[in-house]
Symmetry: D2
Amino acid sequence: MSAAQETVVLQGHIIDSLILAKVLDTILMMGGTFDLKDMRIGATRDELSRARILVRAPSIPILAEIVQAIQPHGASVEREADCEYQPAPSDGVLPDGFYSTTHLATQVRVEAEWIDVAGIEMDVAIVLDPIRNSARTVPMGEVRKGELIVTGREGIRVIPLERPRERDVFGFMESLVSAERPHHPVIADVARRMLAMREAGRHNPSRSKVLLAGGPAIIHAGGRDALTWLIDSGFIQVLFCGNALAAHDLEAAFYGTSLGYGLTAGRTVPHGHEHHLRTINRIRAIGGIRQAVETGMIKSGVMTACVERGVHVVMAGTIRDDGPLPGVITDSVAAQRAMRAAIPGVGLALLVASTLHAVATGNLLPATVPTVCVDVNPAVPTKLADRGTFQAVGLVMDAASFLKELARELGWSR
Amino acid sequence: MSAAQETVVLQGHIIDSLILAKVLDTILMMGGTFDLKDMRIGATRDELSRARILVRAPSIPILAEIVQAIQPHGASVEREADCEYQPAPSDGVLPDGFYSTTHLATQVRVEAEWIDVAGIEMDVAIVLDPIRNSARTVPMGEVRKGELIVTGREGIRVIPLERPRERDVFGFMESLVSAERPHHPVIADVARRMLAMREAGRHNPSRSKVLLAGGPAIIHAGGRDALTWLIDSGFIQVLFCGNALAAHDLEAAFYGTSLGYGLTAGRTVPHGHEHHLRTINRIRAIGGIRQAVETGMIKSGVMTACVERGVHVVMAGTIRDDGPLPGVITDSVAAQRAMRAAIPGVGLALLVASTLHAVATGNLLPATVPTVCVDVNPAVPTKLADRGTFQAVGLVMDAASFLKELARELGWSR
Amino acid sequence: MSAAQETVVLQGHIIDSLILAKVLDTILMMGGTFDLKDMRIGATRDELSRARILVRAPSIPILAEIVQAIQPHGASVEREADCEYQPAPSDGVLPDGFYSTTHLATQVRVEAEWIDVAGIEMDVAIVLDPIRNSARTVPMGEVRKGELIVTGREGIRVIPLERPRERDVFGFMESLVSAERPHHPVIADVARRMLAMREAGRHNPSRSKVLLAGGPAIIHAGGRDALTWLIDSGFIQVLFCGNALAAHDLEAAFYGTSLGYGLTAGRTVPHGHEHHLRTINRIRAIGGIRQAVETGMIKSGVMTACVERGVHVVMAGTIRDDGPLPGVITDSVAAQRAMRAAIPGVGLALLVASTLHAVATGNLLPATVPTVCVDVNPAVPTKLADRGTFQAVGLVMDAASFLKELARELGWSR
Amino acid sequence: MSAAQETVVLQGHIIDSLILAKVLDTILMMGGTFDLKDMRIGATRDELSRARILVRAPSIPILAEIVQAIQPHGASVEREADCEYQPAPSDGVLPDGFYSTTHLATQVRVEAEWIDVAGIEMDVAIVLDPIRNSARTVPMGEVRKGELIVTGREGIRVIPLERPRERDVFGFMESLVSAERPHHPVIADVARRMLAMREAGRHNPSRSKVLLAGGPAIIHAGGRDALTWLIDSGFIQVLFCGNALAAHDLEAAFYGTSLGYGLTAGRTVPHGHEHHLRTINRIRAIGGIRQAVETGMIKSGVMTACVERGVHVVMAGTIRDDGPLPGVITDSVAAQRAMRAAIPGVGLALLVASTLHAVATGNLLPATVPTVCVDVNPAVPTKLADRGTFQAVGLVMDAASFLKELARELGWSR
């Protein structure tokens, strides 16, 4: 009956990551059958498991579809061949059959050798350098005519994610997006990691960076002091934000308000909505945030701490911005590029109260970076998971409460 | 042109409470016209304003409709007459034209004298005791055949809400339901009131009670220790909850879990979902929560603190309950009656993480009780306002973060 | 090293339902190891798979914990023994070690024979009738002193859920709670089932019932006409609701408003908030909804359709009710009992716009009943899944849009 | 006692728009007192009201603050003076005391004459052309060195919004953000306007434009056919969207999926997540959307309808974009400028399922443009109101249900 068959190999933590189950399920659902051959299951949590699976399908096209469908789970065709590639037809355009990456570590086979793909992130292509025998990812918009782009599915292998060694919150597969779970254990785990990373960063500052990508609600809701303390204390190395977070933070420094809302008064200040514009105008007049800090025009807050602690800040513009502040990268492609350049070395990502920054950052992060997504709206962490950032742990709480509790866990005494 | 006219009187803080504007607007919208006569506007925030308004309408029925529509704002027909009344036709049934209350203070005119209606709450009727010359509210289900029920609109006067003297968060008319406002000033104001009330309660314990109506997410999300501390410290005198909050609190005492989720482990404990049922069964076996505390079977947590501090607890049943625990009032009418009985003396209401309890409690509270509604879902405080509890200030945050921040503000050192 | 071992058997659709993976994962996570023996994997989607798993643990208590943890996934200890039982110590109290059910089909072993447990639902106990050799579930509150209650874990076997034969929306394991998925395919699948069930119900009316459990937002948001049509057309046999849905529906019949909001005018009607109370009072005066329909006092809407089509209605009271209407079961335990009695024969459950009714109904439904949970708030279907009703498909949309689209799919021409 | 006083004049629909109440309230709250002089109240809904208010304050600075605070409500200082202005100190920087606009119609007094400010929108500055005796708005980023910018508060007058003549949903002041209101009356009113505008647009196409600003959930959730029909039928003239909406629409044309989710199958298609990238790549290869339509590469959907019907499309880029598609304006300042250029002539704005586009578009719209904000998350319309777009009516429902119901109301027969 089966007109076509192929043996694929699957290895890694395929049992406890549910990968084997998903692969077998996919085969059956798409109309195939299988034999499990040479299944070896790691008897401890550290041993790898390995399965050879003979996939049968009623026709060659269906077989090809099945193999295509299970490959992102790490199944590689046993009959190993080199990966195929084609030159890009023009600047910014990929060859038709280009291979589109996941955010899992990936290897391509070039001249019978498996080489690592550098700079892995989601939904980009792979460009080969056959001279240096190397491979790296390239976003569609940045490909140049003639570059050699990996196509098809053969000779490509995806490494399934290992469960973290440490027994912390990132190690569990349960759905973790829920308003009904206690937040404290998650925050305590995050704090433990941040302490360890700060320690590790003393010896190797280029690894062990903590990234915070955040929205203006951090300031509105009252999280400014806690975030400032976290930066001042050396817990955060990279900040992704927009014009609004920075402007609200500076407005708080100038006027004590955020969009005209008195942060300590707890109410709208007369004519306060103008503070936002006046703040941006003053910073434009002096030339930039750094200048405002260095001249002493502003003396406190998130942006001041970033300047003083040398935090790598990427501010990306959007169509809802006023001004914008000097330093905001208004071109979204350039901003993406700047964010991408800041990712290497990031070992923990905190995505706080910004759907846009959470999804954009999630797209750029390898699956190996532990990620926490905090939003008062449960739809945000769900959306992140839908977009593929499955490693993210969701916390349904407001930004200020999260930052305060995290800072207190790390020693803040307010 | 105007076939009908009537003079109404409006007095109180009718300017700054926007009442005058709403009344005039309603008249115009319903097809009437008006003359403002003898308008006196209080020149300070404490002076009352007063306006006489001559309302004209094209017909008598339209005039009646207009007068009916503006009366809940406090407009009383000047040509004063005694209120009308009719006997209830049978137990649990009101006469057809019964007057339905707001939750604002109300007076009825009996034999040319204005008397206060006792026990004001929303959406109930007024029963007269012509012998004692008194009036009180009665819920529909509790009226008895023959009781004299106020009908129509004449001889009834509603007292518009005064703006609170204290300059705190409850004194502003802005929409206060927003995830984007800083929570801290609201929580600080609440804490100030609670301190003052605890102090006042030492001299007059029957006034100055703080009511907390809460849902089980308080325990799930990690707010148990903070709430326990608040009760132990004498800040809460009345607790409205359901079977679930109590059972989760007791489960935490027995097993350290909430619905099987380890509160400190931060993950699901194997077979932990059974803890919920086993907890309830153990309390049923020993006879009740008080017995469990007194025998030392449970030693910590919210319910223990309530027993030890003599907090007035009303537990109301719902169809999603397991068990339920002894002490849960399974009949909703009886539970409502028990809640109503606990309201007198309440001077501050905290409605935390329970739509059901928030709306049910909101229905029973006079408009004069400052109220805070806390929920991670912004629809809950909005719903409360839609149902008429306009005095409630909304905080969009999770229950645990709210209770922790409130407790810290009051001196908790965790 | 392993001081203890036990062989368990797992069979069913253990691969495509991810059960094997979860069981192995649980063993490893709890500190055990395993050997997979005699693993047979069904080669097609209809064939059952079967695995014998030798579980090893460092101690007997840990082994017992592991076995306890994997049993709800269907793993039964091979060394088969009869189930154990003890008499209930008093009315409403279970013996300490009582077995707490899941909502999966369950068998107990009595005198070497496996017998089915009747009336399976979540979180109840199993009572044996040793004379008739039968077993049935019993809620904690309804157990009587001396009844024989199953205890421990041995001799109990849970049947994993099969994937439905039909290739519809209920057959997939993907997380289905998302605002970002197209609703139409889900609604079309539901409509297909409802058509088939209506047809089947002609031959066997006691099976094939459709249950709708709904909240008052159905009426507020404008879904009244669509729901009325669905009932009139014979698509719904059981309705679970509260006082509010019924009262709003009747208010619409009397006044054209819902909580005073004009359903067609699209705005608040002056003094409309009284309509709610007046409606309830009129129904109380005439004696009930049936009487109001039969005397022609009300002629249209959801409740009228229910009376005319003989729909089995259970109205459960809550503490936020006004009135309530005659027919509302105010005691929550009695209401639960009435809901439970209406479940047999239900083959599809629609839980619409009511957290309370969704969770309460979910608790009573066996896992084999396809279930759709519709709410504009994504937290509601998530909560349902957290509570164990994993078979529910979530739709994030408003009640009115859902009911209209469903009715149109079934032939409604509005 | 009062060391300072000033007479201000307020006129317009100051009663029914609650403006008088707010102004008096603000005066009292800020520590002032007032006398109401020459109050004339329009006796019908069309007559303007007018009040002269003598404001007294304890000091001149407080008086200045009060006058500043009440001016956005339309209160102008009676002692009329010309507006003040200063040259911009450099490109992109405003003089310190610049006047920041509201989105209400505004006039400035130049040489004793009141002239209209052209192109009013929120949070921009006013630039004078003293030669032509004209004034127009200018965003901060576009001001050029030396341009004359209005400063201070004198000689500026804001025209309070009139209540619309038509008795439709836009004419009411009630909070209109609620999941609990019937959607149909709002949608019916919108449809009526759209019909009238299409008719009017036949005679004067440059006025009477309908703007839709939408997010990708329109496609995900199944609203593509309805939106295509609305465009094809001439109901929409301007479309603001991002890369995602366009890419998902084109993906649906190519593959029948949206982010790999089968729109009709109702489930994830294997490897479907690549469709998104492949779609963008194909459009980049052919040069753009217009080329894809004109060559027949795509034949259906939203973008095709836009090309065929000459809809003015502005696609703005964000940092979460893949690709992006040719035609996406990646620079946020340039995109804002393109959106601004498309606003004149817009007479109705529909903001659907995109927080970013809703807020960005809201910022650009004059208060006179009736606006509907549709989102399944109630926080979005609330945020819009918080940002100042108070004229927006909020509908809490999913995008697809909204577009389908709107299209059906306008004659769509699906």
